[in-house]
């Protein structure tokens, strides 16, 4: 008997424990869902910006102090110059095609100049021949894969360096080129030139991603290519790709490939070459070249963005969401309150009222995607095309039952004594409702309205086909399509490119949506709390 009692007690405790666990689980779920999205979303607003961000802000968003920016750009240009110079000098040794072209070009220009000066025929032929010998020696030096032979060819050029016909004409460029090339081939293995060329392209691309296009390069067509790493976290990532080569190696046959990061200063890469100092240089001068600075980018919530949301904020999305919600509310709130008033004040329990209630419940239970279909088949048909009006009418219909139920509850919660007192004073039922019951029920109704605003702001399915676009500006009229936070969050979450390049932009958008919805809900909870207090007396 006592064992059974103890077992029952144990089961009781266990049951209590289970139910506590269930609730704790829900709390944990809320935390797990919200924490990463909010935390990473805030990184779109609070972060360490670089000078590339300030450039972007000035050119794309038209904000910032031009003079300060110019000064800063000049300073970073100075810091970056040695890097580019080193890179150029090295690539002169690798990219021989271009060098040969350049040598030919010099030769051609030299000839043109001689002709322009109307040099006598013999002198012309002789000078051309000497220049040609230099050019051929240089070209041979470029073309050969044998370092000794190359050096001999170069020596031919360099030995003429102090001759007046070289020193004082444009042929001195050949000397400069020969010196540069001599420097490069002193450190690299000419047999691996192809490899170097490929790796050099990678390095250049990585540097471009880090620092943006070079100063005199033409502006890329895509906004996302116009700037280097705009944030310090992106700098860290990009510098990693700059300093290390990502390789997939198969360590043993039959095993899956493993990722390895090989430093670019490794002998297999650029170790020992003239380029090696570049990597240390970039790593140590990163701050001078990019000038990181903490930034609270509150304009994120009002700024427009470049196509694909690569840079900028969610301003159009926020405005679009507010526009859609506002129009939906203008449609649903009056209808909802009047319906609730009718159901409470005039509705008894006859058949009509029961049908109405069933319909309201049905409406509340219809899946949101079916609302979207209905909006497409009905509102879009009436208006003629998908637009804000059609989308917000669809949303309005979706939240109508929410408003009706909340208003009904609020109106019922007004103590009967208020009504009786008003009627006893001689006020009619209409006046009693408008002047006495409605004001008393207003906070409750407001709570319902706020909650339905948050619902309407978060819904995606009903606006998919009725008036939402992924990217664009807020329309000037109700007959245009609009971007919205909810649809934008969907689009940006499923975009692969932006997920790899700019994850903070993804999280920023959804964070804005969640923040909007949660703030509305907190407001509703606060109002309800006050109402309950007041009703309790």
């Amino acid at each position: 008997m006592s064992l059974r009692l103890r077992l029952r007690g144990l089961w009781n405790k266990g049951f209590t424990g289970l139910s506590v666990l269930a609730v704790v689980l829900l709390g944990a779920a809320l935390l797990i869902v919200l924490a990463p999205m909010l935390y990473r979303g805030f990184q779109a607003v609070v972060f360490v910006e670089t000078v590339e961000f300030r450039k972007m802000e000035f050119w794309e968003l038209d904000r910032g102090d031009e003079e300060a920016l110019q000064a800063e750009v000049a300073a970073i240009q100075a810091a970056r110059e040695p890097v580019y110079a080193l890179l150029d000098r090295f690539s002169r040794g690798i990219d021989v095609e271009r060098q040969i072209d350049q040598a030919r070009d010099v030769y051609r220009r030299y000839g043109e100049k001689l002709r322009a000066e109307q040099t006598p025929r013999e002198a012309y032929t002789e000078k051309r021949a000497r220049a040609k010998a230099l050019r051929d020696a240089l070209t041979d030096a470029y073309e050969t894969a044998d370092a000794t032979a190359a050096r001999e060819h170069l020596q031919v050029v360099l030995s003429q360096a102090d001759e007046p016909w070289v020193r004082d004409t444009m042929l001195r460029e050949y000397v400069q080129m020969a010196r540069d090339y001599g420097e490069v081939i002193a450190t690299i293995d000419l047999g691996r030139r192809q490899e170097y060329a490929q790796a050099l392209d990678e390095v250049k691309a990585a540097l471009r991603k880090l620092l943006g296009p070079r100063p005199r390069e033409e502006v890329p067509a895509l906004a996302e290519d116009r700037y280097g790493a705009t944030r310090w976290d992106l700098v860290q990532r990009d510098v990693e790709h700059f300093l290390y080569d990502e390789q997939w190696v198969q360590e043993q046959p039959g095993e899956p490939l493993v990722r390895k990061w090989v430093p670019r200063t490794d002998p297999a890469q650029f170790g020992g070459t003239a380029l090696e100092p570049l990597f240390g240089m970039v790593e140590t001068h990163l701050e001078e070249m990019l000038r990181p600075r903490w930034r609270f980018y509150w304009q994120y919530f009002i700024d427009g963005s470049t196509p694909g949301h690569f840079f900028g904020g969610v301003g159009p999305e926020v405005l679009g969401t507010l526009l859609l919600t506002l129009c939906a509310m203008l449609f649903a709130v009056p209808l909802g309150i009047v319906s609730a008033a009718y159901l409470v004040e005039c509705g008894g329990d006859h058949r009509m009222v029961r049908i109405i209630r069933t319909c309201i419940n049905t409406l509340a239970g219809v899946p949101s995607i079916v609302f979207g279909l209905f909006g497409l088949a009905f509102f879009v048909l009436i208006v003629g095309r998908p637009c804000v009006l059609a989308a917000s009418l669809t949303l309005g219909l979706l939240v109508l039952p929410v408003i009706i139920r909340a208003s009904e509850e609020a109106i019922r919660a007004v103590p009967e004594t208020y009504k009786e007192a008003s009627l006893a004073l001689g006020a009619g039922r209409f006046r009693t409702f408008v002047r006495v019951i409605l004001p008393a029920a207003l906070p409750g109704i407001l709570t319902g309205i706020i909650l339905s605003v948050s619902r309407a702001a978060g819904e995606t399915a009903p606006i998919l086909f009725t008036g939402a676009v992924f990217y664009g500006d807020v329309p000037r009229s109700l007959f245009g399509q609009t971007p919205a936070l909810s649809y934008g969050s969907y689009g940006i979450a499923t975009g692969d490119r932006i997920g790899m390049e700019m994850p903070h932009q993804q999280y920023g958008m959804v964070m804005t949506l969640i923040l909007l919805v949660l703030l509305l809900n907190l407001a509703a909870i606060a109002i309800r709390h006050r109402v309950q207090k007041r009703l309790r007396g």
Partner: protein, 337 residues
């Protein structure tokens, strides 16, 4: 009735307004005024009724327009053709609406919806019911008023945010932790749908549990039952209609949810084989509509077939709604208040 009629325009003077003490208008109404007030009162009621009926009209229009579009899909030239269309729709798993010989077998989509809904309910119902019991019977007031907003927040988070979370956080986690071939699968969608359905289940079930009343609980305690026994053997059976309704409403939420399943279920139009392998991707009805409606030209068979899917959803939720309403009206002691 006469008192009722006063309502609209002929009002009694309130003490606060008008010339102090004296009456602004005579108390006694002439028959004409009386009649006018009566008419106006009824007119006002009729107007209010008309406005209230917008909901009814909306539901009717919804059925009319969706059936109207779906009709083009189901009804082809002759009866035999129509019947085979319906049979193909409900029994074939081949959904190739854009192929040259378009096939419209929605079975895999229906099964996909069924899978994610079932997983969601299996996860959400126990948690939801336990939480409802905790909130209604076990928790002290302070704890309760802390957890109520938590659950409201869970309900308030937009579904697209859950979908976002499913794609960018849950999917990689599932893939890394359990070694699934893909992170967007039945587990992922079911898990997130469960989180979304739990608040609905809790709020309805809690109402039902509270409606059982003190007397039964006290009687049970008086007989020496523990709290667990009281809840499970006395309160639960008494509240069973409401609990059934709670489960049904949670189910409706899960069936009708679009964004989460669109983003998290993987969009593969197949029935998982073997059937218990929940790490495979499926393609629920709602997700199919959302995915394909944007890409299909208006008026094509594909366009209408999506409305047929919508009609299916509408009918299922409509029936579920009627059933749950039936159970809920039992909770309220028959009929609405």
């Amino acid at each position: 009735m006469a008192l009722d009629a006063v309502s609209k325009d002929v009002s009694m003077p309130l003490p606060s307004e008008g010339n102090a003490g004296g009456l602004a208008r005579p108390l006694l109404l002439t028959p004409g005024q009386d009649l006018k007030g009566y008419m106006l009162g009824h007119l006002g009621r009729a107007v209010l009724l008309a406005i209230t009926c917008v909901s009814v009209v909306a539901v009717l229009l919804m059925f009319v327009f969706i059936i109207g579009k779906a009709r083009h899909f189901f009804i082809v030239s002759d009866v035999v053709g129509s019947l085979s269309r319906v049979r193909e729709f409900l029994t074939s798993t081949q959904w190739y609406p854009e192929a040259e010989h378009a096939e419209f077998g929605a079975l895999a989509l229906i099964v996909g919806s069924f899978y994610v809904t079932t997983v969601a309910l299996v996860l959400a119902v126990p948690v939801g019911l336990l939480a409802a019991m905790f909130l209604s019977d076990i928790a002290p007031f302070g704890v309760r008023s802390f957890f109520k907003p938590v659950i409201e927040m869970l309900a308030a988070i937009p579904s697209v945010a859950y979908g976002f979370f499913a794609v960018l956080v849950v999917a990689p986690w599932l893939q890394d932790t359990f070694g699934f071939a893909t992170g967007v699968n039945v587990w992922n969608a079911g898990l997130l749908l469960a989180v979304m359905a739990v608040p609905t289940i809790i709020s309805v079930a809690e109402d039902a549990l509270s409606a059982v009343g003190r007397e039964r609980r006290e009687a049970s305690y008086g007989l020496g039952a523990t709290r667990a026994e009281t809840l499970l053997k006395v309160v639960m059976p008494a509240a069973r209609s409401g609990i059934v309704a709670a489960v049904l409403l949670g189910m409706m939420r899960a069936i009708g949810e679009t964004m989460v399943v669109w983003m998290a279920a993987g969009m593969a139009g197949q029935i998982p084989t073997p059937w218990w392998d929940l790490s495979q991707s499926v393609r629920p009805i709602t997700a199919t509509i959302a995915q394909e409606m944007g890409e299909t030209p208006q008026g094509s068979p594909h366009f209408y077939s999506l409305f047929a899917l919508g009609l299916l959803l509408l009918l299922v939720t409509f029936v579920l709604n009627l059933v749950s309403e039936h159970f809920l009206s039992r909770v309220r002691g028959g009929g609405v208040r």
